[in-house]
Structures are given as C-alpha cells and as structure tokens.
C-alpha cells in the first residue's frame, strides 16, 4: 500500500490529512493442497470441508469487510471507528493467518505426512526438548489444558535461536506472544476442528493429528529463519 499523507497541524486542535492514495489489498481463501478426504481417517472429509469452506471463508469475508470499513474510517479520520474495528480485524485477520498456516502444516499420509523431522530441525528439537516424543507430549499437554478456543504452536524464536511451545487464545496470531516468534507448526484446538469426529475427546484428536503433520514444511521455514 502506497501512502501519500501530509499532516497539517493548525494552531487549534484539528489535524487534517490529505487524501491518501492507498490501494486496498483484500485477502482470498487459499486452496487446499490436497482433497478434502485426503486426511482421513485422522480428520474426516466433512470436518475439512466445513473448516475450509465455511470457517476459513467466513474469516476471509469478514476480514475484507472490516478492512473496507477501516479504510473508510481512516480516510474520514474517524478515530473511534478505527479503534472500534481493531477487534474485528484482529479476530478475522488472525483467523485467516492461522488457518493458512494450518493447511500447509497438514499432509496426507501417503504424501509423507507424519514422517518425523530430519536434519536441522530434528537436531534442534532434540536440543531444546530432549526428544521428539517429549515435544509431542508437551504440545498435547498444552493443547489439552487450553480452556476455551485457541491454538497450540511450535514456534521458533528468531532472537534466542530456540524452539518454544506456545498457546494463543481464540484467533490471536503467534506474534501476539512475542514479536520474534515464527510459527513452524500450529494445531487448531477450537472445537470446530475436531468436534464432529472426536466429540469432546480433544486429547484423542491431538494424539492422532501427529500422523498427518507436514514436518517438511516446518523444516523449510525453520531453515529459512535460522540463517
């Protein structure tokens, strides 16, 4: 977005903004890299379809409309409207970000899903958590303990150069827990991600999802950030 803005502060209290030439880039729903039923039996096709076509699409649509309203409010200089829209932008925008990462984190079993990480990421996991299984237990425990809706993340701290397990509430993106955190893996523990299949047994869902995790993608992100 190219901003052309000049601020003229008059002797009284008004601050005027020149018309900004800003283009609005809206979000779009990314396509899934696999078919809806490719992740069976870990996650049913019904859940995948609802999750992608309804939930993620709703986040995208609402984010776009919030963005439009924000654009108008910013142009008019309506500060209270700008502030009032922040929660909608955070929620829907965060939902879009998180789910876009989530689809890449999953992979059908026959395409390599579930294969443990090798090389650098594998060593980093052993260094920071002791073993691969220790990491899995920790993430499952954090996910099960999370009250309400949220996400469990395997994050890489760019500054400290180490891996961390974090949780965020609702649709807060990982950066709300630390500006230097990069998400490698995110697991959606909102009820819509597992309820139709696992009902309230969240732990079962968390144990099974490791069979379809795409460690290759996590490894790529890690290697890019660890330079």
């Amino acid at each position: 977005m190219a901003l052309l803005r000049s601020i003229a502060i008059s002797s009284n209290k008004t601050i005027t903004l020149a018309r900004s030439a800003r283009s609005l880039t809206t979000a779009t729903l990314p396509p899934l890299p696999y078919s809806y039923d490719a992740l069976e039996p870990v996650i049913s096709g019904e859940i995948m379809m609802l999750h992608h076509q309804k939930h993620h699409q709703t986040y995208v649509t609402n984010y776009n409309s919030a963005l439009e309203l924000l654009h108008t409010a910013m142009d008019k200089g309506d500060v209270s409207a700008v502030v009032g829209l922040q929660s909608a932008v955070k929620f829907n925008g965060g939902g879009h970000i998180n789910h876009s990462i989530f689809w890449k984190n999953l992979r059908p079993v026959n395409a390599g899903g579930g294969e443990p990480p090798h090389k650098k990421l594998g060593w980093q996991i052993d260094t920071d958590f002791g073993s691969f299984n220790a990491l899995i237990s920790k993430m499952n425990a954090e996910g099960a303990a999370l009250q309400g809706s949220g996400w469990v993340w395997l994050a890489f701290d760019k500054e400290l150069k180490r891996l961390k397990v974090e949780t965020t509430a609702n649709q807060d993106p990982l950066v709300t827990k630390g500006a230097t955190l990069v998400p490698l893996l995110g697991i959606d523990v909102w009820e819509h991600a597992y309820y139709l299949q696992y009902k309230n047994v969240k732990l079962e869902y968390l144990k099974n999802i490791w069979k379809i995790i795409n460690w290759e993608y996590a490894g790529e992100v890690y290697e890019k950030e660890a330079q």
């Binding site: 609802l50 309804k54 939930h55 709703t58 929660s87 909608a88 929620f91 009250q147 309400g148 809706s149 949220g150 509430a169 609702n170 649709q171 909102w190 009820e191 819509h192 309820y195 139709l196 009902k199 309230n200």
Partner: protein
Amino acid sequence: MQPATACASSGLTIPWLRRCSSLRVKCSTSQRAHCASTSTADTAEPIEPIEPIDPIETDPEPDPEPFKLKPLPYPFNALEPHMSKETVEYHWERHHRGHVDSLNAIIQGTEFAEMELENMVLTSYNEGNPLPFFVHASQVWNHDFFWETMKPGGGGNPSGVLKYLIERDFGSLDELAKEIQNAALTQFGSGWVWLAYKAHRLGVGNDINPRPSKKDKRLVVVKTPNAVSPLVWDYYPLLAIDVWEHAYYMDYENRRGDYVSVFLDKLISWDVVSYRLKNAMFRASKREKMEKREMLLDKMKEATLRVKVRPTPKARPKMKRRQY
C-alpha cells in the same frame, strides 16, 4: 431403644416403660391391683444406664461427590428438532458431567466443598485472578442455568414485568433479539451470551447517584468469554445462551446466528426468565433497603459520637430549710 424393663412385681416386660407409671395405663387390672397393694412408687427394676455413644474420634470421610450432576428438566429428545438429541446428550453427559467430576476431584476435602455453588463461583473468580477450579465451578453453574432456560415447546412472547422492562430498555422484543444476535456473533471464541438485570452499586463510599431514576435498574445484554458469568459483576442473570461450539456444532455447524435465533424463537422459556426477573428485583430491592439501613445506622453512630453528653448533675447536699 430402652432395654426391656421387667416389672418386678408381675414379671411382665414392658419395653417402653422405664418404671411403673403412676398412671398405670399399660398394665392390666389385676396388675394394677397388685401394684396398688404393694404401694411403693418404685417397684420396677432400675433401668440399666444407657451407655453413652463414643464420641467420634476421627473426622468423617470427606464426601467424594460434594456436587452432583443435576438431572435435565426434560428428556434428551424433548428439544427436537431445534436441538437434537445427540447434542443435548453429549452436552449434558460429557461436557456438563465432565465439569462436575473435575470440580469434585479438585475441591473434595477442602473448605470449598461446604460452599454453595454460587458462592464458590464468586470466591474462585477471585476478582479476575481465577483459581484453578473456577472454570469448572462456573461451567457447572452456567450449564444448570442454561438447561433451565430452555423448555420443550418454548418461544412465544414475554409478558408482564419482563415485557414492560424489555420494551422500556430495548424498545421491542425484536430489538432485544438483534442485540443478543450481535453479542453472540461478536463473542470471538467460546463464551456465553446473557440477558441480565443490572441493579448493583459500585460498592465504594462515594457511589451515590446524584440523580437517581427508576432506569438505574435495568436489563442489559452481556457477553462473557469461556466460563465467566455476569454473577462476578454483581448482575442478576436472567437467561443464558451457550455459544461454545459444542452447544450447536452438530446441528448448525458454523452458523451461530441461526442457532441463536432458533433459541429465541423456539427454545426459550419466558416463564422461567420472568420468574428469575421477579426474584432478581425482589433481592435487589431488599439489598438496597439493607444497604440504606446500614448507611443510616452508620450516620447515626457518627452523629451520636459528635453529640456532647451532658454530665449528670453533681450530687449536691440538699439545702436545709431554715426554721423560722
């Protein structure tokens, strides 16, 4: 049970008689004659003294289930087709029961086990820094409240005081429905939507409203995250809608708005809401009276402290009358 006492004279065992009653009501005529002839007040054997029960030396076993899961007011399929049998069953059997079991496991044997549930919710909320079992206690309370808010064949329109207050504070039932919808759709994440009666005072010394009006006590729509309820804000909840996804996902998938509008059209029991409102208004006015009374008593105490007590007149010797 008294040990059977044998009447020494006749040898009859009369279990309920400590000694021969002077009225001799239970004895036969011949017996009475005999007793009369012997003419001693006390002819029965002395009663063996009852051994005192040993005092309880150890504390009784803590109740493993201080709280029981309250049964539903209607069968699982009573809310069909608006809320399916599976939803009600899973919701009550797994989620609600799960919270009851977790709560019992945590508080068993502690001092919290003696508390009332509502009291426990307020205590464990701990003014925003909740104790670990707050979520369970609050969810148990919330779900009890939620099941009672619904009834088979619900819906319709409110009446009486509730109708008056809805129209006064929201304009119309449709406006109220709109506000509830808005609250449900902007509750980002899990939580609850409530209609509450707000009558509380701030509880600080200077919270005297300089222009009090009847509208200070009014209905409000509030939304709360996860397990919180408006009890912690000193409101009186009147109706609750569970907007955790498990409450509607199997029937409505992601369409929370549809679920809420069906709830208000077809499931809600306005009778229960009216009853709760009357209860709330009564409790609020009683509380207000008590608070006013306490304030007056405090003022009176202050006033009496400031008043100078006139000392009792000194005892003076009486003046003698002069004898002229």
